[in-house]
Symmetry: D2
Subunit: 410 residues, 4 copies
C-alpha cells in the first residue's frame, strides 16, 4: 500500500529502543531498509522493566556494544522535567497530568546527545503516525539539532498490520513473545510519573475501562479501609521530604507512587484532544503525581501572593498545551517557565494529606513563609490590622465604572 519512498541516505541512526517486539522489528528494519548502522538507546525512566535484556537483544541484532546505550534517567526525569512542570500545576484539558508528554523531551535530548557522540546523522523512534508522541519526539529533536534527520518507521513502512509485523519478525529471527502473537487488547506507556493505556478495548468512551487494564493502582474499592495521613515538605516549589524524611526527587515520587498504588489514587478516564487533530480516549494512572500535584497546590495556597497565583492559573492551560503538543524546547515554554519559577522562591513548607479509597484530601498546610495572616483575617478583634471602613472606599471605586455604565444604559 505504501508508495516506494525515496529514502534519504542515512549512515548511522540512534534508535529509542525498549527491547520490546516493536522496536526490535524497527531495529532490524532500519538495518535492512536503510542499510545503516543502528545505535540503540534504552532509558530507565522508571517504567518498571528490566533493561539488561534490551542489551542482549541489541547485541543479538548485531549492534556493537559501544553502540548500546542504557541510561538511568530517573532522577533527571523527575528533577528537570516532572518537578518544573508541577511547579506550574500543569493539567492538560483540566485533568491530565501529562505523564507521557513530559518524558518525550528527555528521551529526545539523550537521542540527540548520543547522536553527537557517535556521529549519527539520524534518530528514530517507534511512535505511530496517529499519535502525539511522534510530534513530541521530533519537535524536540529538531529543536536540539536542526540538521538531524528523523526516521519514523510507522509512518513509512508497510508493516502496519500485526500479521505483517510478526511475519517480518519471524523472517529476521526476532523473538516474538507468546503474549505478543495476538493483538494486545490495549497499548501502554509507562514511566515514573504514570502509565497510560489506550486503544482497542478502550476505544468506546461509553464503555467502562476493564479491570485488567490497570497496572499501577489498586481499585479504590479494594484499597485499605483505613485512611492514611502523610506529610510532604517543599522547598522552592519542589518536594523534598515525605513524612519528614528527606528524599531525592525520584525517590520521593517512587514513594508517593507506592502510597498512591495502595490507596487507589490517580486513575483518570479521559477523552482528550490530540495535537494531530482527533479525540482519543485513554486511561491514565498517575498515583504519586496526583498526590504531589494536590500537595503543591496546597503549599502554594499559603505561600503565593494572589497576583502570582492568579497569573499562574491563567498561564497554566497554555503551558500544559505546549508540553502536550511537544513544545518543551520552545522559547515560549521557557518564557512561561521563567515566570513560573520566579514565583516559587518562597513556596516552602509542609502539607498534610489524607489518602483514602482513591481520594487525596488536603487537611493542613504550614510554612515559614506563609502569607496567611490569622491576625488580619480573624473574626475576632484584629487590633487594627484591618480597617473595615477601607472596604467602603474600595467598593465605591470598584463600582464607579459600573455605575457610570448603569447610568448610560438608563
Amino acid at each position: 500500500m505504501a508508495d516506494k519512498i525515496d529514502r534519504p541516505d542515512i549512515k548511522k541512526v540512534v534508535l529509542a529502543y525498549s527491547g520490546g517486539l516493536d522496536t526490535s522489528v524497527i531495529l532490524k528494519w532500519l538495518q535492512t531498509e536503510y542499510g545503516c548502522e543502528v545505535v540503540t538507546f534504552t532509558a530507565d525512566l522508571g517504567q518498571g522493566e528490566e533493561l539488561e535484556p534490551a542489551r542482549k537483544k541489541a547485541e543479538a541484532a548485531g549492534v556493537k556494544s559501544e553502540h548500546i546505550y542504557i541510561d538511568d534517567l530517573r532522577e533527571e526525569f523527575v528533577r528537570d522535567f516532572v518537578f518544573p512542570m508541577m511547579r506550574a500545576n500543569a493539567m492538560y484539558e483540566g485533568l491530565y497530568l501529562l505523564g507521557t508528554s513530559i518524558a518525550r523531551p528527555l528521551i529526545s535530548k539523550r537521542l540527540i546527545e548520543i547522536a553527537a557522540e557517535v556521529g549519527a546523522d539520524a534518530v528514530a523512534h517507534g511512535a505511530t503516525g496517529k499519535g502525539n508522541d511522534q510530534v513530541r519526539f521530533e519537535l524536540s529533536a529538531y529543536a536540539l539539532n536542526p540538521d538531524i534527520k528523523v526516521i519514523a518507521p510507522w509512518r513509512e513502512w508497510d508493516l502496519n498490520s500485526r500479521t505483517a509485523l510478526i511475519d517480518f519478525a519471524e523472517k529476521h529471527q526476532i523473538q516474538v513473545p507468546k503474549d505478543k502473537r495476538g493483538e494486545s487488547p490495549f497499548s501502554t506507556d509507562a514511566n515514573l510519573l504514570h502509565t497510560s493505556s489506550e486503544g482497542k478495548v478502550l476505544e468506546d468512551p461509553w464503555e467502562e475501562v476493564p479491570d485488567y487494564v490497570f497496572s499501577r493502582t489498586v481499585n479504590p474499592e479494594d484499597a485499605p479501609d483505613q485512611a492514611e495521613v502523610i506529610t510532604i515538605d517543599f522547598e522552592k516549589g519542589d518536594g523534598v521530604a515525605l513524612n519528614g524524611e528527606a528524599m531525592s526527587p525520584a525517590t520521593l515520587l517512587e514513594a508517593l507512587n507506592e502510597l498512591g498504588r495502595k490507596h487507589g489514587i490517580g486513575r483518570l478516564d479521559l477523552v482528550e484532544n490530540r495535537f494531530v487533530g482527533m479525540k482519543s480516549r485513554g486511561m491514565y494512572e498517575t498515583p504519586g503525581g496526583t498526590i504531589y500535584a494536590a500537595a503543591h497546590r496546597a503549599i502554594e495556597q499559603i505561600t503565593l501572593d494572589r497576583g502570582a497565583a492568579h497569573l499562574k492559573d491563567e498561564l497554566m492551560p497554555r503551558y500544559a498545551e505546549l508540553i502536550y503538543n511537544g513544545f518543551w524546547y520552545s522559547p515560549e515554554r521557557e518564557m512561561l517557565q521563567a515566570a513560573i519559577d520566579h514565583s516559587q522562591e518562597k513556596v516552602a513548607g509542609t502539607v498534610k494529606l489524607k489518602l483514602y479509597k482513591g481520594g487525596v484530601h488536603i487537611i493542613g498546610r504550614k510554612s515559614p513563609h506563609s502569607l496567611y495572616s490569622e491576625k488580619v483575617v480573624t473574626f475576632e478583634d484584629d487590633e487594627g490590622a484591618y480597617d473595615q471602613r477601607d472596604a467602603a472606599g474600595f467598593i465605591k471605586l470598584n463600582a464607579l465604572r459600573l455605575r457610570l455604565l448603569g447610568r448610560r444604559d438608563a
Copy 2:
C-alpha cells in the same frame, strides 16, 4: 471606637433578611439609627431553612406585611446563575466551585427589584467589612441601580463584639437563640450549591477541620462501602436528567446533593485569596455541584472541539475570578459568558459516573453530537480516514521555526 458617622438621609431600605439574630439586630438598628422604614427580603436559595419564621419575626419588628418579601428563588438560582457558571467549568483558584459567590448577584438583583417596587432609596445587607460578600452585594446593587444607596451595618456600627450585639438585641426585645449566646465556633453560608464554613476553629490552616463543621456530607470514611453508578443527561450544556429521569435545574441539583451527601462527595479544605486582599481558610461542601462539574467536563470531552475547549480553559480563571470578586453584572463577565454559551449548543449526551467514598469517577460518556471518531483514532485499519504520512508534513512545518532558531543559536 467608630466615629459618629454622618448618615445619609434614607427613607426606606430593603434589607436582605434571614430572620437570624444578626439580621434581626440589623433590622432594628436600621429602624433606630436611620429612622427609616425597613422592607425585608428573605430568599429561599435552598439553604435548607424554614422561611416562615422570618415573616413572623419581621412582623414582630414592625415591618408592614406588604413590606415582607419571601421568595423561592431556587429554580432561578440554578437555571440562571449556577448552570451558566458551570458551563464555564468555573473553579476559583483551581478548586473552588464558587457556591457563595454565585448566590450574591441574585440576592442583589431581587433587592434592587424590590427597592423599585416599594420606592426604597437604599438596600442593606449583613455582610462584614472583611469579606468578599459585601463587595459582591454592593457591586451588583450599584451595577443594577447606580443611584441606590447601600447600607452595610457591620462597617458602620459599634456592635462588633458579640456582647454588644446581644446587649442590643436584648435591649430591643429581639429573641436570642440559646446557641447564639456564646460565640459560635465558626460561621456558615448555605444555599442549594454549597455550604461554606469559616472562622474561629478553622482559622489555623494547619489544623484539620473538626468533624462537627460538616453539615452537608457524610465523612467519606462513613460513606457506603458500595459504589453507586449514575447517569446525567445534558442538553445545550446544561443538566436535564438524572438516571434518565428528566428534572428541572433545581430538582436535579437537589437530587445530586442527596447523592453527594450520601457518598461523602465535595468537601474542600481551601486557603483562598479574598478580593479585599487577605488569605482566608474555609471548608466548602459542594456535594451535588462537584458531581455536576465533573459530569459537565466529561460531556464536553466528546462534544467540544479542541479549539473551543482550550479557549474555554484559558478564559476560565478570569471568568471565575470575576464571579468571585463580585463582577457578575459587568460587561466583561457577560462577554465571556457570550463566548462560553456559544460553545455549548451541541454539548449534549449522557455521562456515566461512579460515586464512591468521596470520589466522583467518570466511567463513560456518549452523545448524539459526539466528535469522537473511533474510525479515525483506531489502532486498527482506519480505511483511509487518516493518512499517517500527513503527520510528517505537519511535524516538519511545526518544527520549522524551532529549526531556524536552533541554527541561529548554533
Copy 3:
C-alpha cells in the same frame, strides 16, 4: 523533481480564477492533468481589476458559460468580514491589519457554495506551498465541507520555474502578457482592504522598499501640504457615515481608501511570522483600513467600559492570530467574535480625525452613549460625584496583599 503523484479521481472542480496567467495555466492544467471539468469563480473583492476579461478567457479555455461564476462580493466582504474583524481592533503581531487573511474565508465560502450548486467534488486555488493563503483557503474549505477535495497545483505540479510555466502556457495557447514574460519583481494581492507586496526585491529586510512597489498610496512626502479633517460615524461598532454622509460598508471603505491614498496613509513595512513556520517580509498598503481602525479605537474610548475594553485587548492577539492562520470558520474564532460583538452594542458616535502626510490623528470623539463623565473627572468641584476619600480605602485594600508580602520578605 516532483514524484508522480497518484491523483485522486476528480470529476468537477471549482477554481478560484482571476483570469491572470497563473490561474489560466492552472485551469488548463486541471483539465489536462486531472481530466476533469473546471468551473471558474472570479470574485470582485475590490481589487480594482476588470472581471469581464476573465469570463472571456474562461470561455476560451472551454469552460461552459453556466460554469463561469463572476460575483461582486464587495459589500459582503466589508460587512461580514472586514467590519467584524475591525470590531476586535485586530492587528497581527501588533501592526498588520490582516487585509489578505480576511479575504480568504469569503472566497472559500463561495467556492464551496458553487461546488454544491454545480455538484463539484473539488475546489482548487492558486496559492503556493510556502505561504499562508493555501492554509486559509483549505482550512475554510474543509470546515465548510469536510468531504470536499482540494487541489493546490503549486504543491503538485512541476511548473515551479517561470520558464516551465510559460512553456506550458504557450503549448496550450494561453496568452502570456508581455509584462509576465520576465520575472515580476515582486508579488501582490489586492482587495478593498489592502494591497500586499512581497518577494523578490522585498526579500532583504534591510533594504528600503522601492517606490515602484506602492500602488495604493502616494508617498507621504508627496501628500498634500494641507491637513484634512474628516468625521466618521459609528453605529453598533461599525462605520456608517463619512463626514455625516451615510454610506454602505463597501462605499465607506472605498471613500476612506481614496482619502488614505491621497494622504499617504497606511503603508506598513513588516517582517511577520507565517503560520507555516518562516518569517517573511512584506509591504502592506491599507489606506482606508488604517483610518478606520484608528477611528474605531477612538469611538470605543468613550463608549466601552474598562472591563470590556481590557478584555478585548487581551483577546485580540489570539483573535488576530486565528484569522491570520486561517481559522475564521473555527469554534474559537466564533466564540471570540460572540464576546467581541457583545461589547459593541453601544459603540456609536462620531470621531473627528486629521489626515496629514501619512498620519492619522484623532482630534475628537463624541457619542450619545458616552461613558466619559466630565462631571466625575473634572479638576473643578464635582459636586459630590466622586468622594476623594474613597480612594484611601481603595488603595489600602489593593495594597493589603503587597504589604503582607513585604512583611513576609522582611
Copy 4:
C-alpha cells in the same frame, strides 16, 4: 467640608517635592497640621526644570539641609524602568506608552530609601484623590515598606479650591508665581519619557487640543519638509546606539526626544480608563519613546521566534495594565518581566527609520541573530530548504478537527 480627621502621630515625613506651589503648600501644611519634621526629595527625571531652586525653597521653609535630597535619577529611570517596559512593547489600551506611570515606582523607591536613611515614619505626595498617581505612589510605597505611613494631603485637607490654596500660601509666606494665581488651563506631568497634559481645556473629548498645550513637540505641520533617516542599535532588547554612536540609556532617549520634537512625533490624544474608575482625556507627548518603541518592535521582528513574539503580544496588555495601575512592585509584574526578559537575549541588531511630519516609518532592519531566512522564504528556488509538499500534511492535520466538526454538524 472635610471632616476633622483624626491624624495619626507622625514624627518625620519624606515629601516628594518639586518646589512648585502645590508641594510648597503641602510642605508647610505637613509642618503645621501634622507638626512633624519634613524631609524633601526632589528628583531629576528629565522633566526639564532646574532643581536648585527647590533646595532654596525647602531651606526657606525650614527644612534642614541634611534633609533636602536632590537626586539625578535619569539614567536609573531609563535603564531600570523605561527600557524593561519597552522590552514588553507595553502600551496601555493599545496606545499609551505609560510615561507617567513608569516614573512613579522609582520616586516611591527613593522616598522609601530616604525614609529608611533619615528614620522617617511616613512619606507624602502631591497627587490628587481622583487620579492614578496616588495609587501608584502608595502601592509602591507599601510594597517596599509595609509599615510606612502615607500622607496624601489632597485627600485630607480643605484646600481644594484654588483660592483656599493661595490664601494658605500667602498666609504662610509661600511665594505664589504670577502665572499660578489664576487657574492654569491644564495640568501637566513631565519626565524624560513624556509630558502629559490633562484637565480644564482638555476636558471635552470632542474639542481639539489647543496648540498651546504642546510643549515637547512641534506641530507635525510645522516639522521639516525633509524626512530624516536614522538608525538605532539594540543589544539584548535595549537600545545602545543612535546612528552608530554608542549612548547610555538616558542619553539615547534624550537624543531621540530631540529628533521626535523636531519632527512632531509622539503626540497622542487619548481618552483612557483610570484605575480609580472613571475615564479621563489626556494629551501625551512621547517623542523619543514613540520612535524607540517602533524600533524595538522592528528589531524583534527578525530576532524573536514566533512563539516568543506571540506570547509577548498576549501578555502585553496585562503587563501594561499592571504598570498603569501601580503594580510595578508586584509578584505578577516581576513574573511577566522574567518571561519577557528571557526572550530578549538575542534581540540585537540595527533598525533604520524614517522620521517625517509626525510619522515614524520603519524602512529596514538587520541583525547578527536574525531568524529571517531569505533562503527559506524566497520565491526563487530554495534548494530544498523547504518542501512544499509538507504543507499538504500540515494543512490536513490542522483541518482534521474542523472536518470532524463539519461532519458532526452535517
